[in-house]
């Protein structure tokens, strides 16, 4: 790559003795290189481990998530039960592995869906001033509302369960991405290269598709990672409050809740799920930070 830079420094073709045109010597490190070292890599590894554990649950788990083993009541961590058992004789390790899957659904399904809808709404609404104002007010309203109170309210209508968690995540991510997209659209639209295309006859659709969207990708990706980490947290909090997945279905949050219930009798209970939650959230956060720093460079 440096060869091509020195190449350019040489006089341009057809203009002898060309004087010093200064240009940007630094090649901005791509967003993908950021993920291959340092924070980004650490984050990816953490995420990878958790995801792998969840996906491989059927293979790795010695029992099913609901199987009750006779005689194994609140057993501590042991050879047979790595994480011990709970008060209805279920193997916590197995439940934890299957519980990861619930979180994976929330993180890798609910967030992207919310993001996609949010981006679409943001793109369309921000193009015309009137819709923009209306959309922004709505976004502000939803964003200002604390997520947990929104979750409680929604649960009151729909009842607790994984579906509710899904809805809450989508409802919260929509305005986040909507607003981010809108900022991007407004910035890119002012750019001279978009104006040049507009003058020559490019319509709004063309401008959006070929200029605005591709140039907005990076901040959206960063936000995606952040939102995913928040989603894990929201699921955890909701399940902890009893608003999330319904028993006997396991999720990391509900497992932690069960663990808290039995904290004085069996303090080991919640440690495994807790560690995994932290790992997942931390991993996602590290990735988002690495991406953000790469953009700023």
């Amino acid at each position: 790559m440096s060869e091509s830079l020195i190449d350019i420094a040489a006089p341009e073709a057809g203009s002898p003795g060309s004087p010093d045109d200064q240009f940007d010597h630094r090649r901005r490190p791509g967003i993908w290189t950021a993920l291959r070292r340092g924070k980004g890599l650490a984050g990816l590894i953490l995420i990878g481990v958790v995801v792998a554990l969840g996906l491989l649950a059927p293979v790795l788990a010695p029992h099913s998530a609901t199987e009750q083993i006779p005689g194994a009541n609140l057993v501590g961590p042991s050879g047979a039960h790595w994480f011990g058992t709970d008060e209805v004789n279920r193997d916590i390790f197995s439940r934890t592995l299957y519980g990861i899957r619930t979180d994976l659904i929330v993180v890798f399904l609910a967030v992207p869906i919310g993001a996609a809808i949010g981006i679409l709404v943001g793109l369309i609404s921000s193009w015309w001033t009137f819709t923009d104002v209306v959309a922004q007010r709505l976004f502000d309203l939803v964003l200002a509302f604390p997520t947990l109170i929104l979750a409680i309210a929604l649960t009151a209508f729909v009842g607790p369960g994984l579906r509710t968690v899904f809805f809450v995540i989508v409802a919260v991510e929509l305005p986040v991405f909507g607003r981010l997209t809108r900022t991007s659209v407004r910035t890119v639209r002012e750019m001279p290269y978009v104006e040049a295309a507009h003058v020559v006859g490019a319509g709004s659709l063309w401008q959006l598709r070929r200029h605005v969207l591709p140039n907005s990708m990076e901040p959206l990706l960063v936000q995606l990672a952040v939102s995913m980490s928040v989603a894990v947290f929201v699921e955890g909090a909701m399940s902890f409050l009893g608003l999330g997945v319904r028993p006997p279905q396991p999720s990391l949050g509900s497992l932690i809740r069960d663990g808290v219930r039995n904290m004085y009798d069996a303090p080991f209970f919640a440690v495994g799920p807790l560690a995994l939650v932290v790992a997942l959230v931390l991993g996602l956060l590290l990735v988002s930070q690495a991406l953000a720093e790469a953009r700023r460079a």
Partner: protein, 319 residues
């Protein structure tokens, strides 16, 4: 300034009006019927009808809404269906607890953010920055219930120095030292997330300010870095910091629900949960409306302060 406030007021009021009606209507759409809960499964249709009429639920929706507004205006918040006290008293008790907790957490978060970010930027030392950044990420990554549980385990179970939950028995003002003990763990737990987010934002903000041309001017005049940070960069970062503070306050209120559950702190969070599950209309309405009101007011407040802090908005245009 007054003009700015007046311009923002109408939209705030409109939001409140819409929200209040929305809450009122939606609450009634929730499945589950308070009449059944109150009457019991064996009540006769006449008994049910009587209870219904008694609660005023046989009127059309709009009439009920107007009646409710009228009640609110008179300061009558209604009677709770389930718990049976006046809604006003219930809310007031819970509100005090939640407010004390939230405000303490906010102050803690602000103090920590200010100190950490200024230190980081003034010292500009690689190790300091790395440590702070790491601690920051960790604080954001740890979910509230995790830190809460860990804190309880450490300071109430393993080393029993602080109470594991509850509020000081005679109120907050009677024995301040006791109050601090009860308040410490929940406030720290709540403040952690918001404090970390604030620190990160403020540090970023200050760093951005230090890259601005006016800082180069100041440096060229021989003003020291420390002075620039404290008297100029900080002041410039203030408007947007205020806005973020407003948002964080909202997050704190939401997080309070969680913290109150973990530390059995009798505040509004637990009250909301109970009220919704018990289909306690009067209580739920007032609580939700209260939440909306608080946000709208806080948003308005932070907007106004932001505008006041920025002379470009406060005073008009160019000569």
């Amino acid at each position: 300034m007054g003009a700015y406030l007046l311009r923002r007021l109408p939209s705030a009021l409109v939001v409140l009006a819409i929200a209040s009606f929305g809450i009122f209507a939606l609450v009634r759409m929730v499945p589950g019927d308070p009449v059944s809960t109150l009457a019991g499964p064996d009540a006769s249709p006449e008994a049910r009808a009587a209870i219904r009429a008694d609660l005023g639920l046989d009127q059309p929706l709009v009439t009920q809404y107007v009646a409710w507004l009228g009640q609110l205006a008179r300061g009558d918040f209604g009677t709770s269906y389930r718990i049976g006290g006046s809604v006003k008293d219930l809310v007031a008790d819970g509100a005090v607890n939640t407010i004390v907790l939230t405000v303490t957490a906010l102050l803690l978060a602000m103090a920590v953010a200010l100190v950490c970010s200024v230190l980081a930027v003034v010292l500009d030392n690689r190790w300091v920055n790395a440590t702070l950044s790491f601690g920051n990420t960790l604080a954001i990554a740890l979910p509230t219930f995790v830190t809460g549980l860990v804190l309880i385990l450490l300071f109430a179970v393993v080393f029993p120095v602080l109470p594991a939950g509850g509020t000081p028995p005679d109120g907050f003002l009677a024995r301040p030292d006791l109050s601090v003990q009860y308040l410490l763990l929940p406030a720290v737990c709540l403040a952690l997330g918001a404090g970390a987010a604030l620190t990160r934002f403020l540090t970023e903000s200050l760093r951005t300010e230090l890259r601005q041309p006016y800082v180069t001017t100041a440096r060229a005049l021989g003003i020291s870095r420390r002075r620039i940070v404290l008297t100029q960069a900080l002041r410039n970062a203030l408007p947007s910091a205020v806005t973020v503070l407003g948002i964080q306050f909202g997050t704190l209120l939401g997080g309070a629900v969680l913290v109150e559950a973990i530390f059995t702190w009798p505040g509004l969070g637990g009250l909301i949960e109970e009220a919704i599950s018990g289909r306690d209309y009067p209580l739920v309405q007032v609580l939700l409306l209260l939440s909306v009101m608080v946000f709208v007011v806080i948003q308005l407040f932070t907007d106004v302060i932001h505008a006041w802090l920025d002379p470009r908005i406060r005073i008009g245009g160019a000569a």
